[in-house]
């Protein structure tokens, strides 16, 4: 047990590759920088546009220098961004918690203790994602309306959970598979109950993986648009729906839309940026070896 623990701390991040310290200039580094800037550019432009007046936003040639203004942001805030933000936080957070509560045991059952027809169960989970939500939206609308959950954030919580659960189970099962089976066997042979060995031994091993899965679920739930726009009205509006309200049919909207989009994306971007280390570590499920 202790040797495994030692192994974990000596993660590959500290691997000998780091001998070449970052100060070295390399042509591949330049290429990487170009790729990074290129991918980031549309986001940069979006944030830039959010500080423009509408007449500066759509010009030929595109304007890099202009007189910045906060008008667009005040327009975004004046239309009541608070409730939408809260709704998004709640729907995303709650559904992610539910996904973890339901998914971790399921992934566990599908990996460490092989059940007959494991692949069938996994296939079933994946198959639930094959029906386009678009085709099921009317039945969903009817059902949700009959239950009285129309325009209620809990409807979204339940649906987002069902949307993310298959992906989460799939991912977490891979992490659980990496745990050496003999750990578990050794623990239960020691007389410890299954639950204790799970909690004290296995969960810490896969927790980076769980964190990674949770982050992916957060990203998908936060950015979900179609269900939100159809099943909510004024009370349970989420950020993507709020964002679309800035697309004016007649009139300029590029700048104010950029401002709204920046606000909508900000929480997830900050989450992602800070958690990316966790994400990479969690996803590198070979780390345990």
């Amino acid at each position: 047990m202790t040797t495994t623990a030692e192994r974990i701390t000596a993660t590959p991040d500290a691997a000998p590759a780091r001998k070449k310290k970052s100060r070295k200039f390399s042509p591949w580094g330049v290429v990487a920088w170009l790729a990074g800037l290129g991918f980031f550019f549309p986001v940069f432009w979006m944030v830039l546009t959010s500080f423009k007046q509408e007449s500066d936003a759509a010009t030929n040639p595109p304007k890099l220098f202009f007189v910045p203004t906060l008008d667009q942001y005040s327009a975004v805030f004046n239309q009541g961004i608070g409730p939408a933000m809260l709704n998004s936080v709640f729907a995303t957070g709650m559904s992610t918690i539910l996904v973890l509560l339901l998914g971790v045991p399921a992934a566990f059952a599908l990996s460490l203790r092989p059940v007959r027809k494991t692949s069938d169960a996994l296939f079933f989970f994946m198959s639930t994602k094959m029906l386009p939500v678009v085709a099921a939206i009317l039945p969903l609308y009817v059902i949700v309306s009959n239950i009285g959950l129309l325009d209620n954030i809990w409807a979204l919580v339940v649906l987002y959970t069902s949307m993310n659960l298959p992906i989460a189970i799939w991912m977490m099962r891979s992490f659980f598979l990496e745990v050496p089976g003999e750990l578990l066997e050794a623990a239960s042979l020691d007389g410890a109950s299954l639950w204790r060995s799970v909690r004290e031994v296995i969960l810490p091993l896969v927790s980076p993986g769980i964190a990674a899965t949770a982050l992916i679920c957060v990203i998908f739930a936060w950015n979900e648009f179609f269900l939100a726009v159809n099943l909510t009205a004024v009370n349970a509006q989420t950020m993507p729906v709020y964002l679309v309200g800035f697309i004016a049919g007649e009139g300029q909207y590029w700048a104010v839309l950029s401002a709204a989009a920046t606000m909508a994306a900000l929480p997830v971007i900050l989450c992602g940026w800070f958690a990316q280390n966790k994400l990479v570590r969690g996803l590198s499920f070979g780390a345990i070896k």
Binding site: L86, N230, V234, E250
Partner: protein, 454 residues
Amino acid sequence: MKLTMLRKLSVCLAAATLTLTAGCAGAGSLGSSENEVTIALVSNSQMADAQKLSSEFEKANPGIKLKFISLSENQARAKITMSTAMGGSQFDVVMISNFETPQWAKDGWLLNLSDYAKNTPGYDEADFIPSLRDSLSYKGNMYSVPFYGESSFLMYRKDLFEQAGIKVNPDPSYQPTWQEVADWAKTLKTDDRAGICLRGKPGWGEVLAPLDTVINTFGGRWFDDQWNAKLNSPEVKEAVNFYVNTIKESGELGASSTGFQECANLFGQGQTAMWYDATSAVSVLEDPKTYPDLVGKIGYLPAPIVKKPNSGWLYTWALGIPKAAKNPDGAWKFISWMTSKDYMKLVGENLGWARVPPGSRTSTYTELPEYEAISKSYGPLTLQSITNATPNKPTVQPVPYTGVQFVGIPEFQDLGTRVSQQISAAIAGQKSVDDALAQAQQYAEVVGKSYQEK
């Protein structure tokens, strides 16, 4: 295992915070109070203005709380239609148009608003422009009331016309012909400027709006009075070929994804010399804050014609109350505020007279001197275009439907969108006009048949 304790604690904390936010968030609304009014709007600038000013309404009506949801046109339409058709009570006030109102009134999905209007002193239902009022009525009663209305006309750059030596007939009853307009466009086209901007974006409310008026004035029609589809008739072919060729020769680049929004931008930036589109475009173009360079340079002419005069379209965004609304009285209070004469004054005084919702009440053009002063170049023409529009007799030959730029049947949303996609493909040069119209004819025949069988 301090880590797990910390982790547990943070999870508990997170869960607690979340449940707290549930209280603030939209969790479980246990039946809205009597005094809440839920309003679904389309996100155009005039509606955004109304939302901004809604605090005035709440001040004048203490105890009534307004809740808005604002979506882009397609989304709003889909959502409002789904909710209303299923008899839902999600919304107290819905924003619909003269496309839905007669159909939904007939289906019994909307409340009769003339009853309310009669009992509201000073509302003056008769002040609404007659053609608009008719288009929103069923059996003599109004089932939605207009917030703003529009027809279509031709906008052009007076200075560019002068430079090119084009003289415009100053007679007030003059309506240019499409051939004239096409010639002007050819003269005005340069390498970085289109001669004219015409919509080409797919959508029954996008490319089909101007195209249908062209079809109508060329003598074409969608269906004959026996509901036979007529989309590959010689008149329609001539009209569509004219439209597509004009775009190809003197129109804007990327026409197949150009809608109102994009043309407005092009015109505003000086990248097109003419633009045939909605009269409400003035809200964008004549705003000195957005396009200060354009002030005084824009000229206006009635919608171009060929065989049929007065070919401008007729459209209005209006407010109605679904049958199952939870708070119809509160809904009417809000609607009557938002469509009243006083509201026009409110907008003018607070946000500027250029932002007054155009084209709904005659009194906007006759009783508001400040508005008259700034709208000299386009106001009278707007009123004239809307008044003279002929939705009940839109074509030269007889037709079994009403509507100038649309066919007033529920199937039209789908049929129109599919046909518009074909036209758009023709504009993009991906198929010939004949092929596009042949495919469109097939779609229309299916719909026509279902009406023949009725």
